[in-house]
């Protein structure tokens, strides 16, 4: 028999989030940051946590089209915002081009930084079509990878910059 346990009360609030095109009603403690709500309450585990302090970038998601850390602010502050996690980019042609380039350039090993990297990479490609290698490296400053030494990631982004939207029509 499982032990019967009682716990100190916790205060939860109920709020609504718009995640990956769906409306979600969430009950959580107000101190819960967005990444924990996405992972623990919405079942969206592509968003990873590496530091919970805004340094590593593993938790990067898109808020109203702009990459943002999800570990730094309470989830309640994202009411009314358009939140997109890596799961939203399944059928996105640019997402597909990036996935293909990441694999071909060996831009991932353990895969833990990868979701955050892909969100940042997608932003670089869209925002900075002329970015050169140095600029890409500078833009990646907020995303740490401990496995790859970054070369594959930089090359994958360069490859997509050279070929996209050229190649986007052929899907995955």
């Amino acid at each position: 028999m499982s032990a019967h346990l009682e716990f100190p009360e916790s205060h939860t609030v109920t709020f609504r989030l718009h995640v990956n095109g769906e409306e979600r009603e969430v009950s959580a403690e107000p101190r819960t940051h967005l990444a924990d709500v996405l992972r623990e309450h919405c079942g969206l585990t592509a968003t990873h946590l590496g530091c919970e302090q805004g340094v590593c970038g593993a938790c990067t998601v898109e808020i109203d089209g702009v990459p943002q850390r999800s570990c730094l602010q309470s989830a309640t502050r994202f009411e009314g915002r358009e939140i997109r996690t890596l799961e939203a980019f399944e059928n996105d042609p640019l997402g597909a081009a990036l996935r293909r380039a990441f694999s071909e350039e060996h831009a991932l090993q353990c895969g833990y930084c990868t979701p955050g990297m892909l969100i940042t990479a997608r932003d670089i490609v869209q925002r900075l079509p002329q970015a050169d290698e140095a600029r890409i490296r500078e833009e990646l400053a907020g995303n740490l990878c401990r496995c790859t030494g970054y070369r594959g990631i930089v090359r994958a982004i360069q490859r997509v910059l050279e070929t996209y939207p050229h190649e986007s029509s052929d899907g995955r």
Binding site: T45, T47, S103, G111, R146, T148
Partner: protein, 785 residues
């Protein structure tokens, strides 16, 4: 597609095959331990010691919530972690999963709190009051080793030293050698895989066993250790290591947290989860690399290395970790310091000092990063003294290609290679002479310097290497379970674990080489003690050789079985059958059968089988061991050019070149990936990463904001050259090479910085080479003028 490799068909060993594991990670479908949910799961948070050395006088649980807080007194039946070495004189430590009587480092766990979320468990932890009585803190490894520290870590010991070792191969050397002596050191560091450790565990009533999902490199070893500490049979514990976000050595350790969570899951009969946060990781758990050397090298006027004398201390922290023990680093220093060189005389004294810091754990390269730093920095200092180029000294001292296989001064058997050619290729790849010319033109505030470092890396250590050491783990035969499923898929279970090393791809490539099967038709299952053969797991650059050997052995045995069945079914002589394209073909190519056809017959049309068929069918276990089992020796030279700003102390990497030889490469793309990742970590060791401790052994870097890990912009321009000298001792001639990238950068970069500062009489003796250390070196040179 443009830019396709010339032979798009090649999928076996040697092919740059894209990885089978990529798809799930790229779509966010990897399954890491923190992604796992169980019904009724609870989270734990730990109360950790705020002081480094103190007696626990009292622990007060929050009133009314005592049943949610546990101390060691509640876990009386749990045994401490004891990782002893049988080397003579080793002093054993007992690490209770929660501190008993006293705490020995900041961050040591004192109590465990449970709640429906981590945040609520942390709320409880904040309400636990622990009364400590301070004890004198041992924060300096020199004081610990020399017996001058006031404090004592373990009351029953007669010193603060886990183990002292002495290698003495001293011989006469010429009188007119140039001898240089320095004190060098590497700082305490942290492994920082991007994912920390983590545990989800529960009791499975159907199979009557503990189920533990843990971010682990060596699940079988964790199981053995867990069973010992918890008093369970190993059969009552299953450890599953799911997708793991990098390990680098840190996840090859049995953690006290794992024992606590397992105990609590059994106690409460509820699934229990602990996910390490970055603060726990940096300040309490993932510590590594702190070495100090007093080293002399003796070089003949010709530039030939004659001998080394060394006294080394490793700050091993408070406890001996399971399974590698507290002497992992220091004892290895004694045996590997001579590196890839020939010499007449060698002596090395080592001590593993116990201090009030977290236990020192393995990190990519293990002791090699430290010894490579110590020796290579000394060789460049000697070369400068002699007025010759660093590569001139090395070409007169390295083991030559004609010496191979070569038994060195500490009885290591080097398998193969051309160390000298490798070094020259790296020197050329950097354009050494071009940089020398540019260096001559820059004599102002910003100075250019060149450095190189050479090493060889023993990987895939075998039984004979480990048994004498007497730690709780001795690698034996590496095994693989292989079976062909009803529809012709090849399933391979291995006991190692892949957490970035790409073994789901490279092992399928090995199967392709032996059986001609498409890697897409091969399913690699790893990291689960529930099904795979026992293995010491993933450590020591061993799996290309050991798991690769086991998979090849299993596939070859399977080939025999398939051949015999096919011979009967096709009416072709068994030795006239060739494996290709996922099936067998007769030599004259007139008849063929797919593996799926043969499997279908075995499982679903057995009426077609001969009477004397081997009843073992299409499933088997095979094992592999290297002979001789000293291991493989990959090797490399790193060369770099730096610019040092003599006003700010900033060091900039201008260019970097590596020539490496990993024998036959299973997948060159994967090998380069390992090299690049290791290089980034090595650059971190050389320039940025350090956890300083104050005199009270308080860690001064506990977040990624103050512990600096290299980012994309910190990586230099890089040229990689491969050599492929097969090892005569491994299945395909492959060598272990996973750690090499992280070994040489601190040495090569320090040599370059010292070359830049040489004209100013300044010298760097410690890494990381922070601006402060550069300025301090310049000031010291100024004062001695």
């Amino acid at each position: 597609m443009t830019g396709a490799p010339p032979d798009t068909q090649a999928k076996g060993i040697g092919a740059r095959l894209a990885r089978k594991e990529d798809a799930r990670f790229l779509s966010g479908r990897g399954e890491f331990v923190a992604d796992i949910r169980r019904p009724g799961m609870l989270d734990v948070a730990f109360v950790r010691a705020p002081v480094a050395h103190a007696r626990i006088v009292d622990i007060e649980k929050p009133e009314g919530w005592e049943s949610l807080v546990y101390t060691m007194a509640d876990m009386a039946e749990v045994k401490p972690i004891v990782a002893a070495s049988k080397l003579p004189g080793f002093q054993k430590s007992e690490q209770y999963p929660l501190a008993k009587d006293k705490v020995r480092f900041v961050g040591e766990m004192v109590a465990m709190c449970v709640a429906p979320s981590r945040a609520r468990a942390e709320d409880l932890a904040e309400q636990v009051f622990v009364d400590y009585e301070d004890l004198p803190v041992v924060s300096d490894m020199h004081a610990a080793a020399n017996g001058t520290a006031e404090g004592k870590l373990h009351e029953h010991w007669d010193s603060n030293v886990f183990l002292e070792t002495q290698v003495d191969n001293k011989a006469g050397i010429a009188d007119d050698v140039v001898s240089v002596r320095r004190q060098l050191s590497t700082s305490r560091q942290c492994q920082v895989p991007l994912e920390g450790r983590g545990v989800v565990c529960w009791w499975d009533h159907r199979l009557n066993r503990l189920e533990m999902t843990s971010a682990a490199q060596m699940p079988h070893i964790n199981r053995t250790g867990l069973a010992e500490c918890l008093g369970l049979d190993e059969g009552q514990v299953r450890v599953v290591s799911p997708d793991v976000g990098g390990g680098f050595g840190y996840k090859g350790i049995l953690l006290p947290e794992e024992i606590c969570c397992a105990w609590l899951a059994m106690k409460l009969d509820r699934p229990i989860r602990w996910i390490e946060d970055r603060n726990e990781h940096l300040s309490a758990n993932a510590n590594c690399r702190e070495h100090a050397y007093d080293i002399s090298v003796h070089v003949e006027r010709s530039g030939r290395l004659a001998g080394i004398d060394c006294d080394a201390i490793v700050d091993s922290g408070a406890y001996s970790s399971y399974p590698f023990s507290a002497c992992l680093e220091a004892a290895q220093i004694g045996s590997i310091l001579p590196g890839p060189y020939k010499m007449d005389s060698y002596s090395c004294h080592t001590r593993s000092a116990a201090t009030n810091k977290p236990p020192i754990l393995p990190y990519r390269g293990v002791a090699r990063t430290g010894v490579c730093f110590a020796l290579e920095v000394m060789l460049d200092i000697a070369a400068r003294e002699l007025g010759i180029e660093p590569f001139e000294l090395r070409e007169r001292s390295l083991v030559g290609p004609d010496d191979m296989p070569y038994t060195n001064i500490t009885n290591k058997l080097f398998d193969s290679g051309d160390y000298i050619a490798c070094m020259h290729r790296a020197v050329e790849a950097l354009d050494w002479s071009g940089w020398r010319a540019r260096q001559a033109e820059t004599n102002g505030r910003k100075r250019i310097g060149l450095g190189l470092a050479t090493f060889c890396e023993q990987g895939a250590h075998g039984t004979s290497v480990y048994h004498g050491w007497g730690i709780p783990m001795v690698p034996g035969y590496e095994q693989c379970n292989a079976r062909v499923t009803t529809d012709g898929i090849l399933e391979l279970q291995i006991g190692a674990h892949s957490h970035g090393q790409s073994m789901e791809t490279t092992m399928a490539q090995v199967a392709n080489t032996v059986l001609g099967i498409d890697p897409e038709q091969v399913r690699i299952m790893h990291g689960d003690t529930g099904g795979s053969p026992y293995s010491t797991g993933t450590w020591g650059s061993r799996n290309a050789v050991m798991s690769g050997g086991a998979v090849a052995a299993a596939c070859e045995k399977l080939a025999d079985r398939v051949r015999r069945l096919a011979s009967h079914l096709m009416d072709v002589a068994a030795d006239d059958l060739i494996f290709e394209n996922g099936g067998v073909v007769s030599g004259d190519r007139s008849r063929s059968m797919t593996l799926a056809d043969i499997a279908h017959t075995w499982y679903r049309a057995p009426q077609l089988l001969p009477d004397d068929v081997d009843p073992a069918g299409l499933g088997l276990v095979a094992g592999y061991k290297m002979r001789p089992d000293m291991g493989t020796f990959s090797y490399a030279t790193h060369a770099c050019a730096v610019e040092v700003d003599t006003v700010t102390g900033a060091v900039k990497l201008l260019d970097y070149a590596i020539c490496e030889d990993g024998g036959v490469l299973l997948n060159p793309m994967v090998v380069e990936g390992q090299l690049l990742g290791g290089l980034a970590q090595g650059i971190g060791t050389a320039l940025y990463e350090e956890i300083p401790f104050d005199d009270e052994a308080q860690p001064l870097a506990s977040t990624l904001a103050d512990y600096m890990v290299p980012g994309a912009a910190e990586m230099p321009h890089l040229t990689i050259e491969h050599m492929e000298t097969p090892s005569p001792f491994s299945t395909f001639g492959q060598k272990g090479i996973g750690e090499g990238g992280a070994i040489a950068p601190p040495a090569a970069i320090t040599n370059a910085v010292n070359d830049a500062l040489g004209g100013l009489g300044a010298e760097i003796h410690s890494v990381p080479i922070s601006p402060e250390r550069v300025i301090a070196a310049l000031e010291a040179a100024h004062e001695s003028d």
